[in-house]
């Protein structure tokens, strides 16, 4: 698990969108060795559908069944039977459902852009634990966050990006902040 740090405008989200193929690089290329899951700033979910309906739609696009949706929603600590529409979810619940959508197809590489934004402390800690479990199962994770301390127990390295370039790389958060 690598944590990508940097000031606003450093190019972190752009790097992630290029890695996903959602944006074209002005030069260079990205090669991915494995299936991809992406959690963006935006939730990529329909407000008028329930959590299960949202994931069921994406599951069909991936050729998966509803059992994959139930597993993903349960993994992030939400109730698959919740009949509430996503527009009535709290911000923390939306973030967790967005993470469920990203891990739905059991990707080998997971790119997460600000997974903890507007999430309360308890949910942040729960999500960090889940990310640690995914790492332990052999997944590769690249996480952008302004709350690196939340991942201090599970992150393998910290990378600092400035003006689109890597300026620091360390195994501990204190070395990067120093």
């Amino acid at each position: 698990m690598s944590v990508l740090l940097g000031e606003n405008g450093a190019g972190k989200s752009t790097l992630m969108r290029i890695a996903c193929g959602l944006a074209q690089p002005s030069s260079g290329s990205v090669t991915l060795h494995g299936t991809l899951g992406y959690m963006a700033h935006a939730t990529m979910l329909y407000d008028e559908l329930t959590g299960m309906e949202n994931l069921s739609y994406f599951a069909q696009l991936y050729g998966l069944t509803d059992s994959a949706c139930i597993a993903a929603i349960s993994a992030v600590g939400l109730d698959p039977a919740l009949a509430r529409h996503v527009r009535d979810y709290s911000q923390g619940m939306r973030q967790r459902l967005s993470l469920a959508r990203a891990i739905l197809n059991e990707p080998e590489i997971l790119l997460l852009d600000e997974p903890f934004s507007n999430v309360d402390i308890a949910s942040t800690s729960q999500m960090a634990k889940l990310l640690g479990e995914l790492r332990d199962r052999g997944k590769t994770l690249l996480v952008i966050t302004h709350q690196p301390a939340a991942l201090s127990k599970v992150a393998d390295e910290y990378i600092v990006l400035r003006e689109g370039r890597i300026t620091e790389r360390s195994r501990t958060l204190t070395e990067v902040w120093a």
């Binding site: 959602l22 700033h41 990529m44 979910l45 329909y46 407000d47 559908l49 994406f58 696009l61």
Partner: protein, 224 residues
């Protein structure tokens, strides 16, 4: 993931979203009813005159009503960047286009099914020609409007004035189809001539623009 399976998933999702929000149906239905009422107050034609002008009036009303539905068709895909989620999936891009076009066809056809009888009542219309052919004209005519409209709405999705852009792109390219719809409808109502040539033209138009839409949509979807 087959084209049909992904198209079905997109269609069901769009129908479910529209059923819950009723954004397109309410706006389109209300607009169509207004047009019918305004036209009925503006003209007081004889039965013969009504048959001659009804084809033009009804298709102009449906064309403008369709624009309202089509303008909203991609809006909910942009909200929360759901479209990016689709782009990341292995589902074929053309399935999204086809699902949306079928959904729009159902919405516009539903509005037509409500408005057309009112039009008949207000104008006291009776077809002199084969009225059953009107079903063909409405099916192929509606598909001509929505298939191009869905494509051009996607094309204008990232423009600042997309609500203005859609009619500017759609109207010129729809001229042959609208001409065929109006002429076929008028000939069926008046019985002056056979509408078959115009219906064939409409079918040809549908085949060409459906094929073009399916082939070009992946490029439109992934354009930055």
């Amino acid at each position: 993931m087959t084209l049909w399976a992904a198209t079905r998933a997109n269609l069901i999702k769009d129908l479910r979203l529209e059923w819950r929000s009723k954004d397109a149906l309410n706006a389109t239905g209300f607009f169509s009813l207004l047009v019918v009422v305004i036209f009925s107050f503006s003209f007081e034609p004889t039965a013969e005159e009504a048959r001659r002008i009804a084809g033009g009036l009804i298709w102009v009303a449906f064309l403008f009503a369709a624009i309202i539905a089509l303008n909203q068709t991609w809006a909910r895909e942009l909200r929360h960047h759901v479209l990016d989620g689709y782009r990341l999936s292995p589902a074929p891009a053309s399935a999204l286009f086809l699902g949306k076009a079928l959904g729009n066809f159902i919405f516009v056809a539903a509005v037509e099914a409500i408005t057309a009888p009112l039009f008949i009542i207000f104008y006291n219309l009776r077809a002199v020609g084969d009225a059953s052919l009107l079903i063909l004209v409405f099916l192929f005519g509606t598909w001509a409007l929505v298939v191009n409209g869905t494509f051009f709405a996607a094309l204008s999705i990232r423009t600042r004035n997309r609500e203005v852009m859609l009619p500017l792109l759609l109207f010129p390219i729809s001229v042959p189809a609208v001409l065929a719809m109006v002429q076929a409808t008028t000939f069926i109502l008046t019985g002056d001539d056979s509408p078959l040539l115009w219906i064939k033209l409409l079918i040809g138009y549908d085949v060409i623009f459906t094929t073009a839409g399916l082939l070009l949509f992946p490029t439109v979807l992934n354009a930055e």
